[in-house]
C-alpha cells in the first residue's frame, strides 16, 4: 500500500513538473504558490507513505559516536539543549539518540540549557523519549537536569571555573552538593565530554569559544543544518565531531542501531525524515534546472532577436 501510494505521488509530482516545464518553455507565468504546493506534496507524500534509506555514518559523525563509545563507564557527559520548538524537529532526534547512547554506555549525564525554551524541551524529552527506555536509571545518580540559567556566554564563563556559582541547585531545587552525578565535578573542566545541541546564539559556537578551547575539553556538536557549514571549520582540531542537520541525526541513529541491538526497534525520526528530505530536494533541484533552462533559452532568443 505504501509503495503504491508513493508511486502514485511520484507520478503526480513529476507529471506536474513536466507540465510546469512545458508552461515555462512557452514563456507563461508560473505562480509562486504552485511551487509551494509542489513542495508540500513532496514532503507530505513520504510522511503518509513512508520509505527509508540505509545510512552509513561519515567520519565527522563517527567522531562523536566513537568518543561516547570509547569513554569508560561512569564518565561524566554534559549535554546542553540549546534550542527552541522551531528548531526541535531538526535537532531533537540527535539529542534523543546521543542521550540514549550515553545512558546505554553507563555514563553519568548532566543535562542543561542556555535557552529558556530548551529547559521545557529537555524536561519533555527526558520524560517522554529518553527515560522510558531506561527505567533502571535514577535521577541524581545516573543523570541530572540542572535546567536553564539566563546569561548566555556569561553562564559558560562562570561554569568553566565553578558550576555551583551559576547552578546552586538542579531543576527540582536539590543542592548540587547532594547530587551523586556531581561528585568530583566542580567546573566544566571536570566533565569528560560536552555535547552542545542547537544552532542559534548562544549555541555550539559559544561552547567551543568559552568551554572547549579554554578548558581543553572534548566537545561534540549536534547542530541545525543552517549553521552547520559555519561550524565545520572547527573539525577536527577544536571539536571531535559534528552531526549536521537531520542527515547527521539519521547517520547517528543508523550507527546506534547497528552497534547496539537494544535500539533496533527504537523510534528513528532522523531516518524517517530522510524520505521527505530526498523527495523535496529532487523537486527543488528540478525547479532549479527548469529555471535555468528557461533562462538560457530566453536569453538566446533575445540575442537572436
Amino acid at each position: 500500500m505504501a509503495d503504491l501510494g508513493i508511486i502514485v505521488s511520484l507520478v503526480i509530482i513529476f507529471g506536474g513538473l513536466v507540465a510546469l516545464f512545458v508552461r515555462s518553455i512557452q514563456a507563461r507565468e508560473v505562480d509562486r504558490r504552485i511551487i509551494f504546493l509542489f513542495i508540500f506534496i513532496a514532503v507530505a507524500a513520504p510522511i503518509l507513505f513512508p520509505f527509508t534509506f540505509s545510512e552509513t555514518a561519515t567520519e565527522v559523525v563517527k567522531g562523536v559516536f566513537d568518543k561516547i563509545e570509547s569513554l569508560p563507564e561512569g564518565s561524566k557527559v554534559l549535554i546542553s539543549f540549546d534550542f527552541d520548538p522551531a528548531m526541535a524537529p531538526e535537532v531533537q532526534p540527535m539529542a534523543n539518540a546521543i542521550s540514549r547512547h550515553s545512558l546505554e554506555k553507563g555514563h553519568k549525564i548532566i543535562f542543561m540549557s542556555l535557552w529558556a525554551t530548551g529547559q521545557a524541551l529537555l524536561t519533555h524529552s527526558l520524560a517522554n523519549y529518553i527515560l522510558p527506555g531506561f527505567p533502571e536509571k535514577q535521577d541524581g545518580i545516573d543523570y541530572v537536569n540542572i535546567g536553564y540559567k539566563a546569561g548566555n556566554e556569561g553562564v559558560l564563563n562562570v561554569i568553566i571555573t565553578d558550576f555551583r556559582k551559576m547552578f546552586p541547585t538542579d531543576v527540582n531545587s536539590v543542592l548540587l552538593d547532594s547530587i551523586e552525578v556531581f561528585n568530583g565535578v566542580n567546573s566544566a573542566k571536570d566533565v569528560d565530554l560536552v555535547i552542545a545541541i542547537g544552532g542559534g546564539k548562544p549555541g555550539p559556537k559559544e561552547w567551543v569559544l568559552f568551554i572547549g578551547d579554554p578548558g581543553n575539553i572534548p566537545i561534540g556538536f549536534g547542530v541545525a543544518a543552517v549553521v552547520a557549514p559555519q561550524l565545520y571549520p572547527y573539525y577536527p582540531a577544536q571539536v571531535i565531531g559534528i552531526l549536521g542537520g537531520v542527515k547527521g541525526a539519521a547517520e547517528y541513529e543508523s550507527e546506534l542501531q547497528k552497534t547496539h541491538p537494544r535500539f533496533r526497534d527504537m523510534d528513528t525520526p532522523g531516518l524517517r525524515m530522510m524520505g521527505p528530505q530526498t523527495l523535496a530536494h529532487v523537486v527543488i533541484l528540478s525547479f532549479i534546472v527548469i529555471g535555468n533552462v528557461v533562462f538560457f533559452r530566453s536569453r538566446r532568443r533575445e540575442k537572436k532577436a
Partner: protein
C-alpha cells in the same frame, strides 16, 4: 472589515469547534484531560495553518498567530528568567526567610554586597519603561555591551583567529596517521576510502589552495590579471561552492521544519499516520 472576512472568520471558528469536539472524543478513551488536550491540539493545528496561510497571502489569522508568538515568547523568557535566576540564584544567597517562601534551599555564606549589583543594574534596565528616566537604562546596557565585547574579544581571538589559522597549516604530503613514506608505499597502499591517505592528501591540498586563492580574491591592491587573476578566479569558485553548500544545508534545515509541522498535522491532529 469586509463581509467576506466575517464569513471567513465564522467558517474558521466553526471548523475549530468541530475539530475540538472530534479530538476530544478521539482522546477520551485514554486521557483524563481529553477536553483540554483536544483544545490544545486543535489550537496548535490552527496556529500552524495560520502561519502557513501567509504563503497564500497576508491575512488576519497570520497576524494573530505572529503577535501571539511574539507575546508568549517574551512572557515565557521573562518568567523563566525570574524563576531560574532571581529565585534560584539570588534569593537563596540573600535571605533565609524569602528562600523559605519560594521553597528554594537557603545558601548560607558571608554577606556579599556584590550580589546587589546585578539587582541594581536590572532595576536600572527597567527604567526604560519610565518616560522621564529612560536614559538610566543606557548605563546597564553599556555594561552588558562592554562586558560581552570584552569577553568575546579574547575568546574569538583565540578560537576563531589563532586556532583557525593553525588549523590551516596542514601537511601537504600527509602527516599523523598518513605519514608520507615514499611514492612506492603510496601506490602500493592506494585507497580511495574516506580514511585513506589519498583522500587525506586531497583534503589537505583543497584546504591549502582554497584558503590561499580565497585570500587572493580579497586582495585588491593588485590588479586581478595573469596568474594572480587565475588564482583569484579559483578563489571565487571556492567561495561559490561554499555558498552553495550553505544554501543546500539551509534547504535541508527548512524542509526538516516543514516535515515537523506536517507530521504534527497528520499524526497528532488528523491521526492519519501512527
Amino acid at each position: 472589515m469586509k463581509r467576506t472576512t466575517y464569513i471567513m472568520m465564522a467558517v474558521v471558528f466553526g471548523l475549530f469547534v468541530l475539530s475540538w469536539i472530534y479530538k476530544g472524543i478521539s482522546l477520551q478513551s485514554n486521557n483524563d484531560h481529553y477536553i483540554l488536550d483536544g483544545f490544545l491540539v486543535t489550537f496548535s493545528a490552527f496556529l500552524t495553518l495560520a502561519v502557513l496561510s501567509f504563503l497564500y497571502t497576508d491575512n488576519p489569522f497570520y497576524k494573530f498567530a505572529e503577535h501571539l508568538f511574539v507575546g508568549v515568547s517574551a512572557a515565557f523568557w521573562m518568567c523563566l528568567g525570574f524563576w531560574t535566576t532571581i529565585v534560584q540564584n539570588l534569593i537563596p544567597r540573600l535571605s533565609e526567610g524569602v528562600s523559605g517562601f519560594f521553597k528554594v534551599p537557603y545558601l548560607p555564606g558571608p554577606y556579599n554586597f556584590f550580589f546587589f549589583i546585578p539587582v541594581i543594574l536590572g532595576i536600572m534596565l527597567l527604567m526604560r519603561l519610565s518616560p522621564k528616566g529612560g536614559w538610566i537604562s543606557r548605563w546597564p546596557l553599556a555594561w552588558i555591551i562592554g562586558t560581552t565585547a570584552g569577553l568575546n574579544f579574547i575568546r574569538y581571538l583565540r578560537s576563531d583567529f589563532i586556532k583557525q589559522i593553525s588549523s590551516t597549516f596542514v601537511p601537504l604530503l600527509g602527516g599523523g596517521q598518513h605519514e608520507w613514506q615514499g611514492i612506492g608505499h603510496f601506490f602500493s597502499n592506494f585507497d580511495l576510502s574516506a580514511s585513506g591517505q589519498f583522500v587525506a592528501l586531497v583534503a589537505n591540498w583543497v584546504i591549502f589552495l582554497g584558503v590561499f586563492c580565497g585570500l587572493v580574491y580579497f586582495f585588491f591592491s593588485k590588479e586581478h590579471t595573469g596568474t594572480f587573476g587565475r588564482a583569484s578566479r579559483v578563489g571565487i569558485w571556492i567561495l561559490m561552492i561554499t555558498f552553495g553548500a550553505s544554501f543546500g544545508y539551509t534547504v535541508m534545515g527548512r524542509i526538516s521544519l516543514l516535515v515537523g509541522r506536517i507530521t504534527f498535522l497528520f499524526r497528532d491532529w488528523l491521526g492519519l499516520v501512527s
